[in-house]
């Protein structure tokens, strides 16, 4: 039986348990003089029975699904004849794949060795045993749970606190998922990175000036030792982000100031959502726009001035990225500017300062920490932005600070290294995880710092 069917069956049993439990509590209450004589409302008794029926089975199902495959593979391999037994991980995986394909009928059985066919048959029989025993065990467990939950029902049984306790733990589990996600990110990226740093020293990676990620197919081939110096990538990322900030910070900040301090209510109600449209456009659309409209336009513009602008210039990618970030900065800046107390504005205006002087000398200094925090969040977003640079920036790692040339970024390299054919133990693939670790660390630090500043600032005026 398939896992989804089992799941539906367990949930069905849970619903049944709910009604049985509720029915029993109602039946118990009748001779006592109505449900007032029960400790809890009837539905709590139902819930109690349902939880006992479904929860243990669901838990067991999850555990079973996790270990089912690897256990069966182990058993099959233990049983195969010695002549085809694998001796390393690669051939182990290959053999498992082959046997499982034979078992599924994807590969024809004709012409395969008897040992393999026997292993495939063994696999099929083990799978059938596993699935039926799973069904049997789960059904028994559910029924036992139902029986137990049902038998505990009595007028004095305190069902509500029990149910609420379980619910609270489920809610807590959901909240803790955020921690598990962070943990998962850190572990997955760190684990692969450590493997990478075993073959490439961490010093060469962080300070190396040349990036050409390739691994040798033969020992003696030309350029067999790929070099994994990430500095050109960092420089490229910074260059693109800097261009983006040059576009986004002045425009975002000025529009926030104008909308908060000058604009009439009508302008504000229409201009603000219109600007926020920019934040809702998918990045792949910006990438398309940058690669097919902005980049050729800049190239032609440069050519008419006698400049040679690369058709994958950092200027195009960064400029479009800046446009994407405008609403991000403007809404964050808007928040902090409107949080500046009105009394400070009034004080400045009463001293005879003009509005722009008030903004420049009073409001901006007061709001500066918040604005800096917002800009840092924006930088972290620019560093991590992927699609625009993948589509509009270059692939070749060049160490340059000229925005008219083509550069590559950390995210571009992660995507290039991990799409397409890959094996998991080559430094080329692992390098992507090392880059991911760098990216995660830098953005995490920027975010923590920025959130800290913003929070501190908010407390100041609250």
């Amino acid at each position: 039986m398939q896992a989804t069917n089992i799941l539906i069956l367990i949930l069905g049993l849970g619903v049944l348990a709910f009604f049985l439990g509720r029915g029993r509590s109602l039946a118990l209450a009748k001779p006592l003089g109505g449900i007032r004589q029960l400790h809890s409302l009837p539905s709590y008794y139902g819930m109690h029975a349902a939880l006992w029926c479904a929860l243990p089975s669901l838990f067991l199902l999850c555990v079973w699904m996790l270990f089912d495959d690897s256990l069966i593979n182990r058993l099959v391999l233990d049983s195969v004849a010695a002549e085809i037994a694998p001796n390393d991980t690669a051939s182990y995986n290959l053999l498992i794949n082959k046997i499982s394909n034979l078992a599924d009928g994807i590969l024809p059985r004709k012409g395969e060795s008897a040992a393999l066919v026997a292993a495939a048959d063994h696999l099929v029989s083990l799978r059938i045993i596993s699935s039926w025993s799973l069904t049997a065990v789960l059904l028994t467990l559910s029924s036992l749970g139902l029986l137990w939950g049902w038998s505990r029902i009595s007028a004095s049984f305190r069902a509500r606190p029990v149910v609420e306790k379980v619910m609270q733990n489920i809610l807590l589990g959901c909240a803790c998922l955020a921690i598990f996600t962070t943990l998962g990110i850190v572990l997955s990226v760190l684990f692969e990175s450590i493997q990478f740093f075993r073959s490439v020293p961490i010093f060469d990676f962080v300070f190396g000036l040349e990036w050409s990620p390739q691994t040798a197919i033969r020992e003696d081939q030309v350029g067999s030792s790929g070099s994994f110096g990430a500095v050109p990538l960092f420089v490229g990322t910074l260059l693109v982000s800097a261009v983006a900030m040059v576009v986004a910070v002045p425009v975002g900040l000025m529009s926030a100031i104008y909308l908060a301090e000058y604009a009439s209510k009508t302008v504000r109600t229409y201009a603000k959502p219109a600007l926020e449209i920019l934040a809702g456009i998918p990045t792949v659309v910006y990438g398309f726009f940058a690669a097919l409209t902005v980049a050729p336009f800049l190239r032609d513009l440069g050519a008419s001035f006698g400049l040679s602008v690369s058709s994958e210039s950092a200027l195009a990618a960064g400029g479009v990225m800046g446009v994407m970030i405008i609403p991000f900065i403007s809404s964050l800046a808007d928040d902090v500017i409107t949080a500046v107390p009105q009394s400070m504005r009034d004080g400045s205006l009463a001293m005879g300062a003009t509005k722009s002087e008030t903004v420049r000398r009073v409001i901006i200094p007061a709001a500066l920490p918040g604005i800096v925090g917002g800009v840092m969040l924006a930088i972290s977003r620019a560093i991590g932005e992927t699609m625009i640079v993948v589509m509009a920036a270059g692939m070749a790692a060049k160490l340059t600070a000229n925005p008219l040339e083509s550069v590559t970024t950390v995210t571009v390299q992660i995507v290039t290294l991990l799409t397409g054919d890959q094996e998991f133990d080559s430094p080329k693939t692992l390098a992507a995880f090392a880059l991911g670790l760098m990216l995660f660390t830098v953005t995490l630090l920027l975010n923590i710092f920025a959130l800290h500043i913003v929070k501190k600032y908010r407390e100041q005026y609250d």
Partner: protein, 426 residues
């Protein structure tokens, strides 16, 4: 005395300068807003300009004879015979009857280039639907090749692009045009077919289905989990370090670059748990983790906006903490949560970077029918098409972007409408 007059003079003299500065400052602000709005406008007009043509496509009318001998099929119910049939012969013969004067190998090849290479299979489908056509002759509108399509559209617009056309082909098209045998028709292929290497055959149906499946899974997982987490943090969490730690984690996850979630999916779901690549299950899981922070944060705001008096009233009437939350706080904050969920889904719909990592970037022709079929999603399809060298794909890509944007606009409008309609002010 004289000193204060001097001061007044000074202030008066500087007034015009200060007023000029004030005016300048105001113009800076206006310019900034103008730049932002202009960017929106340019982006949309550019996409629409490039993409509007893709909704119509060129067809050529030819006389097709469903000749059994030429196809090599006698029994239309035998699948083996059908796959062996020479379906392209149908369109090729039709082209030769239309232009009988054409001879020579290269000329013929150019002639066959007028019609899409998949046209034969369209004829096959047509024949299977109407089996009595076998052996008959009829006039059919056949899909033109993408180069012909690009040329014909550009020629109709008066901005001719004929770089990929030969002189003979231009002549033939002219002839067909004078006879009224070439025309633009609504491009239904765009909506009914999966991906293809041939631009004229490619459609977004597969990608839309993939997006739909992925989003369904994302919504089913992230909404209940996100709302539960928000309820816990707002209503039940004790003020201690652990709770603070959870909150810090959520806020940080909201700002982690999306590509990192792709790395997580690749390392954990695919490499560790051996979930197959390219399927909506992995996509849905990764996008769930990615949208969770958004949903938790908006749901918390919605719960916070329910006034404490409601909780106090419920507790005062003898409700337990859970009954208060489930019967009063949750229903009152649901509109806000739904708005947050829709915004989160819109974000997930437009996301492509993490899905590249988990292999949803493959070339997939079949339209996915379930959560474990290989699939791609709309933004990734856009990425793939944008990378294709054929000129006709630019038009297709822009059209796909228009469709994606209209989905997003609808979702956001619904979110705004929901907020306006259902939100209560206390």
């Amino acid at each position: 005395m004289t000193e204060s007059i001097n001061h007044l003079e000074k202030i008066k003299n500087s007034l015009s300068r200060r007023n000029r500065a004030e005016k300048r400052f105001r113009w800076y602000g206006r310019t900034a807003i103008f730049i932002g709005l202009a960017a929106v406008l340019v982006l949309f007009t550019d996409i629409v300009n490039k993409g509007h043509g893709a909704f119509r496509i060129t067809y050529i009318e030819l006389e097709v004879t469903y000749d059994q001998d030429r196809i090599g099929v006698n029994n239309l119910t035998d699948p083996k015979e059908l796959t062996r049939g020479n379906w392209e012969a149908l369109s090729k013969t039709a082209l030769r009857t239309e232009f009988p004067a054409v001879s020579g190998r290269s000329d013929k090849r150019e002639l066959y280039g007028l019609i899409s290479s998949g046209a034969g299979f369209d004829l096959k489908d047509r024949l299977l639907e109407n089996p009595r056509l076998l052996g008959e002759t009829e006039r059919v509108w056949l899909l033109a090749d993408d180069d012909i399509d690009t040329y014909y559209k550009s020629w109709l617009d008066g901005d001719t692009y004929s770089a990929r056309m030969s002189a003979k082909q231009l002549e033939w098209i002219d002839e067909l045009h004078q006879q009224g045998k070439i025309r633009l028709q609504f491009n239904s292929n765009l909506f009914t077919r999966g991906d293809s290497r041939e631009p004229e055959q490619a459609g977004i149906r597969g990608a839309v289905m993939g997006s739909l499946l992925t989003l369904i899974l994302t919504l089913l997982l992230s909404f209940p989990i996100g709302v539960s987490a928000a309820i816990y943090l707002e209503e039940f969490a004790p003020r201690n370090r652990w709770t603070d730690f959870i909150e810090v984690n959520i806020n940080n996850l909201a700002a982690v670059p999306s590509i990192i979630f792709g790395l997580l999916g690749l390392a954990i779901f695919i490499n560790f748990f051996h979930v197959p690549r390219s399927v909506p299950i992995v996509g849905g899981l990764v996008l769930t983790l990615m949208t969770l922070p958004t949903i938790i944060i908006t749901s918390r705001a919605a719960i916070k906006s329910v006034p404490p008096s409601i909780r106090e009233a419920a507790l005062g009437m003898g409700a337990s903490k859970y009954q208060t939350v489930l019967h009063h706080v949750l229903p009152l904050s649901l509109p806000g949560m739904l708005t947050g969920a829709i915004i989160g889904m819109a974000q997930a719909l437009g996301e492509s970077a993490p899905l590249l990592m988990i292999g949803m970037v493959a070339f997939i022709v079949d339209i996915p029918g379930g959560f474990s079929d290989p699939a791609t999603v709309l933004p990734v399809q856009i990425f793939l098409w944008a990378d294709s060298p054929e000129r006709a794909f630019i038009e297709k890509t822009s059209a796909a972007i228009m469709i994606l944007l209209s989905f997003l606009i609808v979702m956001n409008t619904v979110a705004v409408w929901l907020r306006k309609r259902l939100e209560r002010r206390w």
